[in-house]
């Protein structure tokens, strides 16, 4: 199947700092997780994909359209839902008014249809009963859900979400995962996150970035497999970095410590080993 979104040899610099260097990726239907440490270039990539930042070099195409062209960019934006890292809000608006404002900007011109759509997305994020509460009175998690609601407006074919689960409580996180997995069945969803748990439970595909480049691309299982044979459990604290597991043992990555038994590798293990290699585990 033709991918919804492709980037080829993407480069973006901010002054002397290179945020993206030679990134080539393709995203099709389903949920893709974008992992990486702070400063890896995730948000820059997300902004380029969301058409809000132009690359210095390379090609971007969404639905076969080129965002560098004004008309084509407009066409992409009509099919795009975007949640930036810091979406911001007007505190004196009600939740309904805020989402309706974005709905107007998304060209949902018919008033009745727009109101129905606003109610629908507010219900999707479980804020239906808070529609007429001022934004300033909403909790941090509720504001995050409100921001997510505006991204869902118009049932977009492409959803780009930067750190969408920040501030959500476990119940809302579960609800959010259910929503995204449902959406991902019929459209392209790209989410940048620091939560490997989100990736494990939600994503069919994962991309790991480091210092502006892609260091891994595959399924969560393949990412976990990167740590095969490098996860160890001991009964006494080993040298280097380790953490205590709920059953009282110590888990470490990399070289096998004395008297260690192999542990089951997870997505987080693969991710940490990819990023830090021996340094993370040692």
């Amino acid at each position: 199947m033709e991918p919804t979104l492709t980037v080829h040899d993407l480069t973006r610099r901010f002054g002397r700092r290179t945020a993206l260097e030679g990134v080539s990726l393709a995203f099709g239907r389903g949920v893709t997780g974008l992992l990486g440490p702070n400063g890896a270039g995730k948000t820059t990539l997300i902004r380029v994909l969301a058409t809000t930042l132009a690359p210095d070099a390379g090609r971007v195409a969404a639905f076969g359209l080129d965002p560098a062209d004004r008309e084509q960019r407009l066409a992409i934006r009509r099919r795009l839902g975007y949640l930036p890292q810091s979406p911001g809000a007007y505190p004196h608006f009600t939740a309904f008014e805020l989402v309706e404002y974005v709905a107007i900007l998304k060209e949902i011109d018919d008033r009745r249809a727009r109101h129905d759509e606003v109610r629908r997305v507010l219900a999707e994020v479980d804020l239906g009963d808070r529609a007429h509460t001022k934004v300033r009175r909403l909790s941090g998690g509720m504001r995050q859900r409100l921001a997510l609601a505006q991204a869902l407006l118009g049932d977009p074919d492409l959803l780009i979400l930067d750190e969408p689960t920040v501030g959500l409580d476990p119940e809302q996180r579960m609800r959010f995962r259910a929503l995204l997995s449902r959406l991902g069945a019929s459209r392209t969803v790209l989410l940048s996150t620091h939560q490997t748990e989100d990736v494990t439970t939600l994503c069919e595909r994962v991309v790991v970035m480091r210092t502006g480049g892609v260091v891994f691309e595959g399924t969560p299982g393949e990412l976990a497999a990167q740590a095969a044979g490098q996860v160890w459990l001991t009964t006494t604290p080993p040298e280097g970095t380790f953490w205590r597991t709920p059953d009282g043992r110590y888990r470490t990555l990399g070289h096998r410590p004395p008297a260690a038994v192999p542990g089951e590798p997870g997505v987080e293990d693969g991710y940490l080993l990819l990023l830090g290699g021996e340094q993370v585990a040692a």
């Binding site: 809000t52 934006r77 404002y101 107007i104 900007l105 060209e107 011109d109």
Partner: protein, 179 residues
């Protein structure tokens, strides 16, 4: 621009600075002796321009950056709404002070300077206080040219509109893809 956008956009604007500056400008022009009319109307132009610049701060700039209605439409809509209010307040102050109409050019340029300064700043930095940048060119220009009102100000208006337009343009500069 969609007419439905005007109301929420109008509500989204931080009107507080203009709500303070406009009555002050009008009251100043009304109350001070006629001999000070010119100075008060000139000061009113500067203060109203700096207040209008706060209208360009968009707390949801990031969330709305990728919507089909482009940034420049929203920023120009904000500009026009704030300019109308600031312009009306200035015109009232001017009429109450009974001073020559030649001051209008200077007031328009002050407004454009403030909008250019704030427009540039909000493009790069977030937060309400960023709009203070609107006052910087107004004060800097005022400090250098206080003694010379006249029709010559209109000459600066054209280039300044272009500067404002550049500041208001879509966040994504249009650049052709490379093959």
């Amino acid at each position: 621009m969609n007419g439905a956008l005007v109301v929420p956009l109008g509500r989204a604007i931080d009107w507080a600075p203009l709500a303070v500056a406009a009555p002050l400008a009008v009251a100043g022009a009304w109350l001070v002796p006629a001999e000070f009319g010119v100075a008060v109307v000139r000061a009113a132009g500067a203060v109203l321009a700096s207040a209008a610049a706060f209208a360009l701060v968009d707390g949801m700039a990031a969330a709305t950056a990728a919507t089909p209605v482009p940034r420049w439409v929203r920023q120009w809509a904000r500009t026009l709404m704030a300019s109308l209010v600031a312009g009306a307040a200035w015109a009232l102050a001017w009429r109450l002070a009974g001073v020559p109409g030649v001051l209008a050019g200077e007031a328009v340029v002050a407004l454009l300077l403030a909008l250019a300064g704030a427009g540039w700043a909000v493009r790069h930095v977030e937060g309400r206080a960023v709009a203070l940048a609107g006052a910087v060119p107004v004060l800097a220009c005022g400090a250098g040219t206080w003694a010379t009102p006249g029709q010559g100000w209109w000459l600066a208006a054209g280039p300044l509109v272009l500067v404002v337009a550049v500041a208001h343009r879509d966040a994504r500069p249009v650049r052709p893809s490379r093959p």
